[in-house]
Every structure is written in C-alpha cells, then in structure tokens.
Amino acid sequence: MAKGTVLGRHPVGMILAAPYAVYIAVIFAYPLGFAIWMSFHDYFFAAPGAIVDHPFAGLDNYRAVLSDPGVRQAFANIVVFLVINVPLTTGLALVLAVALDKVVHARTFLRVAFYVPYVTASVAVVGVWLFLFNSNGLVNTVLGPLAPDPSWLVNEHLAMPVIALFVTWKQLGFFILLYLAALQNVPRELYESAAVDGASAWNRFWSVTVPAVRPATALVVILALITGANLFTEPYLLTGGGGPNGASASPVLVMYQRGLQQGEPDFAAALGVLLVIGVLIVAYVNRRLIERD
C-alpha cells in the first residue's frame, strides 16, 4: 500500500489542498507582505497606467502615525470600548449561559431571543439604535429630565460607551453559544462533590464553573478584543463617522478615512501593522493572565 513515498501515501491530497494553498498565497501572504512593504515606503495612488517610484521611507510612516492626534484618540477610544465591552461580555455571557443551560421551559424561545442580534446585520440594527438613542428618541423620552445633554450619540463622553453597549448586545449570543459548548464539558462529579461539601450555589459557580470554563473565557476575551480592534460599521454609521470630534473614531475608521478617502495608503498600512502588533501583545498578555495555573 505504501506507494509514492516522496509525495506521501496519498498524493491526491496535494491536489485537494492546492486551491486552498494557492488562495492563501494570493489573498493572504502576498497582501500581507505588500502591507508591510507599503508601510516602509512612500506609497500613493497614481493615475492608472502611470509608472511611479515609491521611494523607501524608513520609519516615516510609523512616525507620522504615532504622532497623529487622530490616531492617538482612536486608540484611546478603543481602550474605553474594551474596558466596557470585555468585562460586560464575559460576565453576562457566562451567567446567561449557565442559566440557559439549566432552563427547562421555553428553551427555544430564550435561545432565539439571545442569538437573534448576532445573526442580524449591524447596518440593520444600527438603524433602530439611531431611532432609540437620537435626541428625541424613546430612550430620552423615557428618561425625561434625566436624559443626557448633549444626547447620547453626539455626546463625546457617551458616544463610545453607547457603541460598546451596542456591540455587547449584538455579539452576546455568539459568546453565550461558546460558553454553552464549554459547559457541556464540565464534569458533573465536580458539582456533585461540591454539593456534598455543602457549597452554596454562588460558591459552586465561582469555584467549579468559572475555573472549568477558563479556556473558553480566554477565547471569548480574545474574540471580543479582535471585534473591538475591527470596529468600523458602528462608529461609521451610529455616530456619523466617529463623531463628535473623533470621540468615537476607531483605528479601522481612521485607516479608511486616511488611507482611502484622503489617499494616504502608506499611512493606513503602517497604522494597520501597529494595530495588529497591539492586538497580538494584548492577546498574549491576556493568555498569560487567564491560562496561568
């Protein structure tokens, strides 16, 4: 049976995997290299067909990005976003998953209710949040004199928290699903022995469930982090392009504005590289913190 030892036992596997490998080379590896190359060169959009030089620029693009007040603001905004979104997402998703796991009646209704924002387009639900949170919206009507002034989406202290809340609501179903999957793998004996020891429900949750789903928590935190780093649609539509005064701008929104609208793709490429390095560092630190024994 051992034929074709040079190509392996099933050379046909190379043919099956080839389209994927070629695709990765063309759509990932090449653009990835291009992005990094672009970030070190003076790159600009030229007229079609024109042959232009793109001289080596060293760290100029990176210097421009790091000293740009709009970029700094965008990164600070993402920190605000993460500080609100990540604890809220992990906490709510785990508590709701534990509760949903035990529920007997109306399982389907409850599951659908919590997942439905996740399956709906951001653009569609942004529409209704605009309706709810605009200055004459239902939220302010209900709050009456307690309504913030300026209103939520045009208030520089509230625009980013509203976006963080929106994304938490939108993505929570997916994270509940991840936790539900993790809960299926928690050995029941752990709960039984904890019950025998007379642990309260809260103690069982805290000393059995939370440690048992720790790998899922690490995943949830990393995915929430990536969602935050990718934020675009919400600041673009919900707060009219990162307003007010850039108080809700995100790095990807700045990439779009500077790179494509204002024609500085080299600046945007350097910003992208820095953003990814930032995500990798935070993800690594998070991994060390959550997965330590």
């Binding site: 036992r9 050379p11 046909v12 596997g13 190379m14 099956l16 995997a17 389209p19 994927y20 759509i27 990932f28 090449y30 653009p31 990835l32 992005a35 959009f45 035990k102 529920v103 409850l110 599951r111 659908v112 209710a113 439905v116 924002p117 399956v119 709906t120 387009a121 951001s122 653009v123 569609a124 639900v125 942004v126 529409g127 209704v128 949040w129 605009l130 309706f131 709810l132 239902l138 302010n140 009507t141 209900v142 609501w169 699903l177 991840l178 999957a181 993790a182 299926q184 793998n185 309260s200 429900a201 995943l219 990718n230 649609t233 673009y236 990807v252 494509l260 945007a268 490429a269 990814v276």
Partner: protein
C-alpha cells in the same frame, strides 16, 4: 441539583430575552409608523400603521436589486467556503501527503492575521490592480476561502472512525469517491451548521463591499441601506421610518433562516470546532 430559586432564574432570563428582542419589535413598529412617534405609547400603537415607509425606501434604494446583489455575494462566498473548505479540510484530516504539516501550520497562522491588516493592500490589488471594482468577483474574492471553515471541516472529518476509511480503501474506492460517498454524507448535519453560520458573514458584511462598490446598481442591501442612512435620509418625509423599513428587509432573511434552522445552531457542533 441547583438550589438557585428556579422562578427567579426564569424571570431574569425572560426579562433579559425581552430586552434583547425589544429593538427588533421597535424596528418593525417604527417601520410602520406614518411619522416618528417616540413616546412610550408610540411603541405600542393601536392604529395609524402604514406601509408607506417601505414604498418610500424602495423608491430611493432598489430593494429587489440590492437583495439580489446580497444573494449573489452570499452565494458566491458560501460556494467557495464549502467547496474549498471541504477539499482542504478532508485532505488535512484524512490524507497523508507531502507538505501536510506545513499546510496545517499555515491554517493556524492565517487565522491569527486580522482582516484589517489586509484591508488596504487588498483594496489596492483588487480594486486598483485587477480593476474588480463594482464586480461580484471583487466582492467575493477576499471571503471565497474561509480558513476557519477549513479548520472546522478538518475537525468534522477527524471525528469519523478510522475503520470506515480503511474498509472503503480495502474495497478499492478512490480517495475522491470516499470523500463523496462515505465522508460527506456522514458530516452532512455539521456541514449544514457550518453553512448557516457562514451565511451570516457575507449577508451582514458591510466594510468590504462598501469599499468595492461605488455604483448603486452593484451594491448589496447592507451597503445601499448604509449609504441611505449616511447621505439621503435627511431628505425623506419620515427618515427613520424609511431606514427602519430598509432595516427590516435586510434583517428578515437572516432572522427567518435562523429561526427556521435554529436547532442546528447547537453548541456541540460548534464546540467540536472550537476545542481544537
């Protein structure tokens, strides 16, 4: 088992569920109001509902054309995801060939690279280099192969018993035939879950098709509705009504599909992919 008061838990869950569903209810109500009524009473109307907003949005955004564009975009992505994903996933799980280890490392690495890093170079290549602006191919290309899907399909195929493949090979079946008639039928339920989860991505995707399509006739509904929200809505008679009518049209297919197939969105199928 649990000494959590069950009633309290149920009440909290139901209140949470209602809070989660309320924006959807309000979206529908808002799309039927003849003028925006943001009072509490306006959220529970008894009369005065109209379909005018749907007519209004349809006169400004070609709803049907946009839905067709969304459908073609989503269909193309799904086709690529399933075909390339199954082939590569099967090869990685079940076949021993030279370079398999390297390819699998690649699969893991690619998942670490976020899309935003590729945004600018892909735009430069696809829109400016290959001239694929305002084309379905330009929209589909970056999503046509989904590495996460490759990884998940690999997990599906790994879970099948070895004996099955040994027996089929003993019977002299070729690898493609084993994939088609033995492996695929066995992973069909998992495949359906993967297709449903993949559907949401391109149907709801905004940023990339927004960059690629400038021509209104080529835009998927998410893009044309977003453009309506940011540009045109100020001139409509009832801007919120028209926006919400468009939002309902955009949300309906994904929500309907999800409710129809909700029992396939089960944690175990996904869990097998996530556990790695």
């Amino acid at each position: 088992m649990s000494r959590w008061p069950t009633a309290v838990r149920s009440i909290v869950l139901f209140l949470g569920a209602l809070a989660f569903l309320f924006p959807f209810y309000y979206m529908l109500i808002g799309s039927l109001q003849s003028s925006p009524d943001t009072s509490v009473k306006g959220a529970f109307p008894t009369e005065g509902l109209t379909l005018d907003n749907y007519r209004d949005i349809n006169s400004r955004v070609d709803l049907l054309g946009s839905l067709v564009n969304s459908g073609i975009f989503t269909g193309g992505v799904l086709l690529g995801t399933v075909v390339f994903g199954v082939l590569a996933g099967y090869a990685l799980a079940r076949l021993h060939f030279r370079g398999r280890g390297t390819l699998f490392v690649l699969v893991l690495l690619v998942q670490v690279i976020p899309f935003q890093l590729l945004l600018i170079p892909l735009y430069v290549l696809i829109v400016r280099g290959y001239g694929l602006a305002d084309s379905y191919l330009g929209m589909i290309l970056p999503f046509a192969v989904n590495t996460t899907a490759v990884f998940i399909f690999r997990q599906f195929f790994l879970q099948l018993p070895d004996d099955l493949f040994a027996a089929a090979r003993l019977d002299g079946a070729g690898e493609l035939r084993i994939l088609w008639s033995v492996a695929l039928p066995l992973v069909r339920p998992a495949l359906l879950t993967a297709v449903l989860l993949t559907f949401i991505g391109p149907w709801n995707e905004f940023l990339w098709p927004f960059l690629v399509t400038k021509e209104a006739g080529m835009q998927p509904l998410a893009v044309s509705l977003a453009n309506y929200i940011s540009n045109v809505s100020s001139r409509a008679a009832n801007p919120f009504g028209a926006i919400l009518a468009g939002a309902c049209v955009l949300a309906a297919p994904a929500v309907a599909l999800f409710i129809a197939f909700q029992r396939h969105f089960v944690s175990t199928d996904l869990g097998s992919g996530v556990k790695g």
